[in-house]
């Protein structure tokens, strides 16, 4: 029962991160709000954090997967905090339109903090990663998963991971179209590869 709850909470976190990425992508496409280099790096931070949740869904929970999420969230929060500090002085301008009174980079900083807190909660309720339960159950570093693990909650793994992979692919494509192979401009006004 606890395993299923932890799996569900990991899937929920991955869907939440996918929703953030989808929202940012929709804002870019619908409102032509091109992401700046720091905005792209924050998206990358969310993708790196989501990767840990995806590993938890695919391979079962491990402390190393939670470590990946926390590392990525700290780096992502650093990038978001850097952008907050760039605009914190009155009169120093902002980037993009605010949402509910705060800019996307401020929301990103809050979201990275929430992801770290979420990991803390999951680690508190999931006792397996600390007891090496997965290693004892026969999980290997490569090759097929044991049938009992692979069969449990197939959709709860496949759906969030597929959506997440699609969003990473779309971000790779849009970033390539926006910045091409060079360095992204600090304040992009058009897609480099589009006429």
């Amino acid at each position: 029962m606890r395993d299923r709850s932890v799996r569900f909470l990991n899937a929920l976190a991955l869907l939440g991160i996918s929703a953030l990425l989808a929202f940012a992508f929709a804002d870019q496409i619908i409102f032509s709000d091109l992401p700046c280099p720091l905005c792209i790096l924050q998206r990358l931070g969310f993708a790196l954090a989501g990767f840990g949740f995806a590993l938890n869904l695919i391979w079962g929970t491990r402390s190393s997967h939670y470590a990946l999420i926390i590392f990525a969230s700290v780096i992502g929060a650093t990038v978001a905090g850097r952008q907050v500090l760039l605009h914190i002085v009155p009169g120093s301008g902002t980037y993009g339109e605010p949402l509910f009174g705060m800019h996307f980079y401020t929301w990103a900083f809050i979201a990275f903090t929430m992801i770290i807190i979420w990991c803390g909660l999951l680690l508190a309720i999931d006792r397996r990663p600390l007891s090496h339960g997965n290693a004892a159950s026969g999980l290997r570093e490569s090759g097929p998963l044991p049938q009992s693990v692979a069969a449990s909650g197939k959709w709860i793994t496949a759906l969030p991971v597929s959506i997440f992979a699609l969003l990473i692919g779309l971000n790779a494509l849009s970033t390539f179209v926006e910045c091409s192979t060079g360095i992204c401009p600090a304040d992009p006004s058009h897609y480099e590869l589009l006429p």
């Binding site: 280099p37 720091l38 792209i40 790096l41 990358l44 931070g45 993708a47 790196l48 990767f51 840990g52 995806a54 590993l55 695919i58 391979w59 190393s64 990946l68 590392f71 990525a72 780096i75 650093t78 990038v79 850097r82 952008q83 760039l86 570093e141 490569s142 090759g143 097929p144 998963l145 991971v161 997440f164 992979a165 990473i168 692919g169 971000n171 790779a172 494509l173 970033t175 390539f176 910045c179 192979t181 060079g182 360095i183 992204c184 600090a186």
Partner: protein
């Protein structure tokens, strides 16, 4: 150039899905290093940080 880390992460996710956990984590680490390098390249000039 900023699309590269998204591509490495996508390949890492495909490796994870195909049950190659070490490759997946290795590609995650490469993506993180690329992210830090791009952060230093793009965002630290105004701070006058010396690395």
């Amino acid at each position: 150039m900023m699309a590269l880390p998204f591509a490495t992460l996508l390949i890492g996710l495909i490796c994870a899905w195909r049950r190659h956990r070490r490759w997946a984590i290795g590609l995650w680490a490469i993506t993180l290093i690329l992210m830090i390098a791009l952060f230093l390249l793009h965002a630290t000039d105004p701070l006058d940080l010396q690395f």
